[in-house]
Structure formats: C-alpha cells, structure tokens
C-alpha cells in the first residue's frame, strides 16, 4: 500500500478520483436529501411533502377566496381590486384548471358557500384524502368593543362593566344583568368579565369550514400532475441513486484516507519530502485558499438558485461542476498539505506568524546574550530620548543637544577608525604597533588593548621564528665550513696515496672508492650550504632582464658532452619571438644546471630530453621532460623535498638536494617551479613572468671594431 502510494502517477490518479467522487458525492447527497421523503416515507405522492406544499399553496388561495366571498356578502360590494382578485381566484380554482378540490361551508349551519366540485359529487368520493380546516372572520372586528371598559368596585370587590352601544352611549352592566351582558358577549366570572367575540351581538361574526383534497385521477395537467409524475419517476431510480451516493461518498473518504496516508512520501526518498506547495507558509496558503473558497462559493450561489428555479441546463451544470471542483481542490489540497506539514513537523514552523515570532525571539535572545553591552546601548538610547523630550520644550536647546549627540557619535566613529587602522597595521606586518588607548571609550579601549596584546604575541612569534631560521642557516654554514677543512686533507692525501707506487690492485681499488666518496662528500657539503641559503633566502638576488632562450642554449652547450656520453639527445622548441624575463642569471643557471644534471643522472640511456620554452599568458614557461631510468613511484611533491631521490637505492652520486635547491632558487627570483610525473615521464616546469626587453637588446648590433 505504501509502496503503491509513493508512485506519482498513482497519487495523481487517486487525487483526481477523490476530487471527482467528492464533488459527485456531495451533489448526489444534496439531491438525495432533497428527495428524502420520496425515498423513505414510501407512502405515495399524496402523502409526500411536495404534495403537501402544493396543497398548502392552493389552500391559501381558497382562504383568500372565502374571505372575499364573505366580505362581499357583508358589504354587498367589493372594491375594484378585490373584485379583480376574486375573479382571478375563481378562474384559477375552476375544476378545469386544477386537480385541487375544495368546498366552503358555514360552520354553524353547514350551508355550502362555494365549491369547485361537480354538482352532487361528494368530497370523499372525489379526492384522495379529505383535509378539513376552519376560518373565523368577523366584521368590524373589535371597533365597538374598544369603548368597553371596567370599573373597580371596591366595596363588592369586582369590576363593573360599561359597554358601548351601537349609538355610541354607554351602559353600566352589573353581574346581575347576565342576560344583558351575554348580549354583548360578556360573562361574569365572579370577579371580572370574560369576553367571547362570537357571542357579541354587536359584531358580525362567521366561522367557515373548508374541506379540500386532490383528485387522484388528475384530469388536469397542473402542478399536482407534474408532481405526481416526478414522484413516480424519482421513486424508480432514487434507490439506485442512493446506493451510488453512498458508494461515491465512501470511495471519496477512502481515497482521501489513502492520500492522507501516503502524503509526503516519495519513491527513493526517505522520510517526508516537501514539495514547493508544502513550503508555502501555511497561514498565507490557508488565507489564499479561504479567499478562493469564498469566491467560488459566492460564484456558485446564484448558479444553484438558478438551477433550483429553472432546472438543469448545460451551462449551469458545467459551471457548478467547475465551481464544485474548485472548492474540492481547495479543501483537498489544504487537507493534504496540512498532513504533510504535520508529518514533517513544519506545521507551525512554516508559517509567517511563526517566522515573525522567531525573528523577534532571536533578536531578543541576541540582545539578552550580549546583555551588559546592549543594556548600555539601550540605556543611552533612552537617555537620548529623555533628553530629546526635555530639550523639545525649549526651542533654543534643540540644536545644541542634537549637535552634542551627533558630535559624540562622530567621536565614537573616529575612535573606532583609529582602532581599525591600528589592527590593519598590526596585520600588515607591523606587529609591534600599539594602538593608543588614551581617551578611548570604555569598550573601544578594551578592544584596542586586546588587539595590542595580539600584536605583541604575533611579533614575539615572528621574532622567534626569524631567530631560529638564522640560527639554522648559520649552523649549516659553520658546520659545512668545519667539514671542509678536514675534507681538504682527505682529498689531498687520497690523491697523494694514488701517486704512490702500489702494486696491490686491491689497495688501488680501495683508493678509488676513497677518491670517489671524498669527491661525493665535497659535492654534498657544497649543495648543503647552497640549499640552506636558498631556502632561508639569505642569498643575494640581482634581478635583470635576460633571455630565457639564450640561457637554455648556453646551458645546453655546457651539457652537450655529458649528454653525449649517456646517448641522450636534446629536442628543443623555442618561440619565434625572443622571451625576456626578470631573473638572476647565475641562480637561474643553477636551476637549469640542476635540472639538466638530473636528466643526465636519471634519464634512460638513448632517450630524448625535451626542452620547451613557451609563452603563456604573460609568462615564460620552460619545461624539461625526460624518461626516467628507474621507476618513479614517488609523488612529485616529495621529490622536491630535501634528500629525496628518485632511486631509493641511492647508488648515484646525487645529493638529493638538486630539486629542492632548484625550487628554492626559482622561488627566490619570483618564479614558480613544478614537477609532474606520469609513469616514467618526468617533467619539470619553471615559470617566470615576462619582462620588457632591455634597451640595448632593441638596438641593432653594430659590428665590433
């Protein structure tokens, strides 16, 4: 179920179905409720509400007719409008125009006043059910009696009656005159008088009996005829409709339950996934949906009224369906997003109100967290406000006070700038700089003191570092100097030994080893000094413009024979235009010397060494490539470290300092030195920024004298 529910297509289908069944179910339910009696009372049309409603309308018309007839009898004449109304009613109530049957009789005598029954036909025989009712009417109702009044007789403890006679005179009636009192409709009850209008002879009073019913043969095509026809029709399919309604409502509820259960879950996603819709702030969303809901409702209302009045037409049905779908969409989407939000626990947090509250809360928390400081700020602000109010009373003081506050603010800004500039100086390489804290505001002074302390710590660290570097450089120089003196003796005496006549070939080979190793030691001490100087930067550097191509050519001239011994061929590629760089020629020669020595020492015999000079975005790039004899399983960064060599056996006569020296020297001159290794391909790159050519190079060469 859950897995099925996470498929988007299924979800969309369920949503649409829920919408459809919901709308259909609501309308079907409404219809069923309106036809409730038709479905459930089941006693037939003549006991149904629609029939009663109709009969009621007709009965009211009969009452009106009866009144008009009675007035006609009493007055002998009706007003024009009443006459028209009477004719109208008689016309409408004619038995050829309605299936409604009625008779009006005097209640007291039973004399027939008016009927639309055929002559001689009995009421019981003509209608389905006879309904009876009475109408009371009086002429001059109450006009005479209005003058009657009671007078309290204190002695006898009852009321005396004064009745007004037809001629306008008053007559006193005591309880003893019961017959006279009865003539005026009064009876004494031992204390006061009861009045019965019908017994008051001064009034014209009549009670009419009305009998009515509907002719079940329905000879006339009228409301009753149509009602009966509709009733029988509805009665036929209402049960099926009721079942459909139940099915629709049930399936809507089930689909909604299914959608609620799967809301927010998606395939391949753990937990609850929020769509863009679920990210809209809830209060905003609900407000919008309520607005849309009300709009749709207001639009649907006249349509529903029109439907009731005129019956279903295509445009009404379509309109109502659209409105219903819109309302359903609002409700269903609101429900689902609420459920998703509850599951993702963003129901409250993703509302505008919540955000507003949390922003306020954070602001308050921040203020509280840095309390003493913010407290001071608030205090000063309040003081400022009080000052503003107080000075506001005197116009003269306003500019003085506001000017003072502005001056204080500017003073703060200036002091702050002083602190900032001080911090900049400390960071910019003058850690000994001390910010003057005299006259600073309290908090700023504290900040400045902290910065001063920081600067002191930095300068101490820097001093220590410089001292240790210098110490190291001196140590290496002194040690190597002390090494050189004994080394001189070793080399010289080994040489002297060599010159002695020695027949033993063993001894000669020993001397050979001594020679080789003492020379190696010599080279090592020289490299050590150079490496230490180059890396500590104690070497003087004289930068001048020089041609990289020229330098490489000169270097290759130096190496030609050494390369030839190892059968290494050089392949060079130079740019067409001359390339001038700013460098120290001697140091750069040492860099290239080291690189070419490396090739000579470590390149595979009989291979080619590639030297390329390229011009790349304002830079001159020299790359030296060769194929290594030994496998290079060392990362290039490590190769540049001191004493690391490509051959781990260290059989060759390198010191392991060559590449380190080369890099240090290159960087000393402002260039960059890079190594890369791709299998056995060793590549070194030396990059220098381009420099303008020296002036004499631009002039054509004059032949020498």
């Amino acid at each position: 179920m859950k897995q099925l529910g996470t498929r988007l297509a299924v979800r969309v289908l369920a949503f649409l179905l829920a919408l459809g069944t919901g709308v259909g179910g609501v309308w079907a339910s409404l219809f069923i409720f309106s036809q409730w009696d038709t479905l459930w009372t089941g006693v037939g049309y003549y006991s149904s509400n629609s029939c009663f409603q109709n009969m009621n309308i007709w009965y009211n018309q009969v009452v009106e007719l009866a009144r008009l007839l009675q007035y006609q009898e009493w007055d002998a004449k009706l007003s024009y409008l009443d006459e028209q109304r009477l004719a109208d009613l008689e016309y409408k109530l004619d038995d050829t125009r309605t299936n409604f049957r009625f008779s009006i009789r005097r209640n007291d005598t039973g004399t027939l006043v008016y009927t639309n029954l055929e002559d001689g036909a009995s009421m019981e025989g003509s209608v389905h059910t006879v309904y009876r009712d009475s109408i009371s009417m009086s002429y001059n109702d109450g006009t005479e009696r209005r003058g009657d009044y009671f007078v309290w007789n204190g002695e006898k403890q009852f009321y005396l009656l004064y009745a007004v006679l037809d001629d306008g005179s008053e007559q006193l009636i005591t309880p003893n005159d019961a017959s006279l009192a009865a003539k005026y409709g009064y009876t004494f009850n031992g204390y006061s008088w009861d009045y019965d209008q019908s017994k008051d002879t001064r009034l014209l009073y009549v009670e009419l009996a009305v009998e009515y019913g509907v002719d079940p043969t329905l000879p006339v095509h009228d409301d009753f005829y149509e009602g009966a026809a509709d009733f029988t029709e509805y009665a036929r399919y209402l049960p099926a409709l009721a079942v459909l309604t139940v099915v629709l409502d049930l399936s809507c509820v089930l689909l909604c339950a299914f959608l609620c259960r799967t809301a927010g879950r998606y395939p391949d996603q753990k937990g609850i996934h929020l769509t863009w819709f679920d990210r809209i702030p809830l209060d905003l969303l609900l407000l919008l949906e309520a607005w849309a809901f009300l709009l749709l409702l207001a639009g649907g209302d006249p349509m529903a009224v029109a439907l009731n009045a005129n019956g279903p037409t295509t445009d009404l049905v379509v309109g109502l369906a659209l409105v219903s779908c819109g309302i359903g969409l609002c409700l269903l989407s609101a429900l689902l997003t609420c459920i998703v939000r509850i599951r993702a626990r963003t129901f409250w947090s993703n509302t505008l109100v919540w955000r507003l509250i949390s922003v306020l809360g954070r602001a308050i928390r921040n203020i509280v967290n840095s309390w003493p400081l913010t407290g001071r700020t608030i205090l000063f602000f309040l003081l400022y406000l009080v000052g503003t109010v107080l000075t506001g009373l005197t116009i003269v003081l306003i500019p003085v006070y506001q000017g003072l506050v502005l001056w204080l603010l500017c003073r703060w800004t200036i002091q702050w700038k002083r602190v900032r500039q001080g911090a900049q100086r400390i960071l910019g390489g003058d850690p000994n700089f001390k910010i003057d804290t005299k006259g600073l505001y309290r908090d700023l002074a504290e900040h400045a003191r902290q910065l001063n302390d920081l600067g002191g710590t930095i300068s101490q660290a820097v001093d220590e570092r410089i001292r240790s570097e210098r110490f190291r450089a001196e140590l290496i120089t002194n040690v190597s100097h002390d090494l050189k003196t004994p080394l001189t003796s070793i080399i010289n005496y080994v040489d002297l030994l060599k010159k002695e006549p020695i027949d033993n070939p063993q001894i000669q080979s020993y001397i050979e080893v001594l020679t080789r190793k003492s020379l190696r030691l010599k080279k090592l001490t020289e490299d050590l000094v150079e490496a230490s100087k180059a890396s500590t930067g104690t070497l003087p550097v004289h930068l001048e413009p020089l041609s990289m191509v020229q330098l490489v050519q000169q270097a290759l001239g130096e190496f030609e024979e050494k390369f030839a011994q190892n059968r290494l061929t050089t392949v060079t590629r130079y740019p067409d235009e001359p390339i001038w760089i700013q460098a120290d020629g001697h140091h750069l020669w040492r860099v290239i010397d080291n690189l070419l020595s490396n090739c000579n020492k470590y390149a595979l015999e009989g291979t080619r060494v590639y030297l390329d000079i390229e011009h790349q975005d304002n830079k001159a790039v020299l790359s030296v490539k060769n194929i290594s004899r030994e496998p290079l399983n060392i990362p290039p960064e490590q190769l540049m470290e001191r004493f690391v060599r490509g051959d781990s056996s260290r059989t060759t006569d390198g010191s392991g300092l060559g590449l380190s020296i080369a890099r240090s020297l290159t960087e000393l001159q402002g260039g960059t030195f890079d190594l890369s290794i791709d299998g056995d391909l060793f590549k070194a790159t030396v990059t220098f920024p381009l420099a303008p050519p020296p002036e004499e190079a631009l002039q054509p060469l004059s032949p020498p004298a």
């Binding site: 003196t485 080399i491 002297l496 020089l546 020229q550 050519q553 001239g557 001697h586 750069l588 020498p704």
Partner: protein, 232 residues
C-alpha cells in the same frame, strides 16, 4: 727555483701542499698563522704566498693587507667560505687569486704556475712586443700575425673557430656577445638556431684557456645574455 710561502693553521694541509709543490720543483716555507707568515716573509725572499683566510691570531685577510704594504708578490687565498663577498674582499685588499676548499691539488699547482708566470713576465717584459698585433688580457696573449695564442706563456692550440671567437672577445673586452651575435660575426652566416654550437665551442675554448673551466677567469658566462671577456 721559486720559493713559495704556505700558510694554513691545519698542519696536514700545509704538508700536503708542501708535498705537491716540492714535487713540482718549488721550495716551500711553512707558516701556521698570519704572524708566522709575516715573519717568514721578512726573513727570506718569497716568490708566491698561499694564504688561508680562517686562522687564529692574525687571519689571512689582515695578513695579506700587511704583506701588501711591503711586497708585491702574488698572493693566493685559500678559503673554506664560498661566499662571493669573501672573495671580493680578498681580491680588494690585494690578493691575486683565490682557491676554495676543498681544493683539487692539480688546480692549486695550475694557479700557482699561472701566478708565477704572470709575476715574472710582468716584471721582465712589460711594454715589450708588437702591441699592434699583440692582443693581451691577463695571462692571455694573442698574436694575430702569427695566429698563435699563449696563456701564461704556454702555447695553446686552438681550432680556427675557437681562435676567431677568442679574437672577437679579446678585441672587445667587457662587451657581452649573445650566441647569435657570435655566430653571425664568427661564422659569417645568419644565425638560424645553431646557437648551441656556439655554446659548445666556447666551452671547449674555456677548457683550453681556463684553469677551472667551471669558474672561468677570462671568458665569463653572462647567463641569459651571452659571453664576455673579463678585463683583467
């Protein structure tokens, strides 16, 4: 027979130098610090002095300065420091040459010979010879009419190209020539990427003329610009 004063605080070095120099036929006088060297120079005539710089008591630099007040014999400094500043200081106060430790005995002998030849030839033949045809710089003498070159009096055999390069450089001492300029002027061809050839020829030339080709005295490499004949 020349007398050479050897002065170093390391006795082993002194005796090694003594062995080399006597085997070359020189007479040696030994000293173990600056003061002894001064005394030795006063007590007997000396033709050349080998002087260590780092010595207890009077060091090599101050001893050289003192010696220069009275004598103009060649002084070669021995130094364990390879800094240029030390060399310049030594040369400024009157030393004629320097050798860095640890040194090669052959180099020491070569430099001693060179200094002695220059010292004696300067003393004997100054101003002599056909100056129009003779180009000299330091110990190098090039006779263009005879097409012969001597270094410190020793004849050097040069190929025609080497000779022409040396001639070009000697005619313009101190001036820097780039490889392509040298090619165009010596080969008389437009240079079309054959500059490596020039560098190789110059190295050969250096090997024939210089005592230590890696640290040339005459034909200096100006890296990235070219070559020049250092004026001595």
């Amino acid at each position: 027979m020349y007398t050479i004063l050897v002065c170093d605080d390391d006795k082993d070095i002194v005796s090694a130098l003594d062995i080399y120099l006597t085997s070359e036929g020189y007479r040696t006088v030994k000293a173990y610090d600056g003061l002894e060297a001064l005394k030795a120079a006063e007590t007997q005539p000396v033709d050349l002095i080998l002087m260590d710089i780092m010595m207890p008591g009077l060091d090599g630099i101050r001893a050289t300065a003192k010696l220069r007040e009275k004598y103009n014999v060649p002084i070669i400094l021995l130094t364990a420091k390879s800094e240029d500043a030390d060399k310049v200081l030594g040369l400024n106060i009157g030393a004629d040459d320097y050798i860095t430790k640890p040194f090669n005995p052959i180099e020491v002998i070569a430099r001693v010979k060179s200094q002695l030849r220059r010292y004696t030839s300067l003393g004997g033949k100054s101003g002599g010879g056909d100056s129009a045809k003779l180009l000299t710089n330091g110990g190098i003498a090039l006779d263009d009419s005879a097409k012969s070159v001597t270094v410190d009096g020793d004849r050097v055999n040069l190929t025609p190209l080497e000779y022409n390069i040396l001639l070009l450089l000697l005619k313009n001492p101190g001036r820097v020539f780039s490889t392509s300029q040298i090619y165009e002027l010596v080969w008389n061809d437009p240079s079309l990427g054959s500059e490596n050839t020039v560098a190789v020829h110059i190295r050969h030339l250096r090997e024939k003329i210089e005592i230590d080709p890696a640290n040339p005295r005459y034909i200096k490499v100006v890296w990235g610009l070219g070559y020049k004949m250092e004026k001595i």
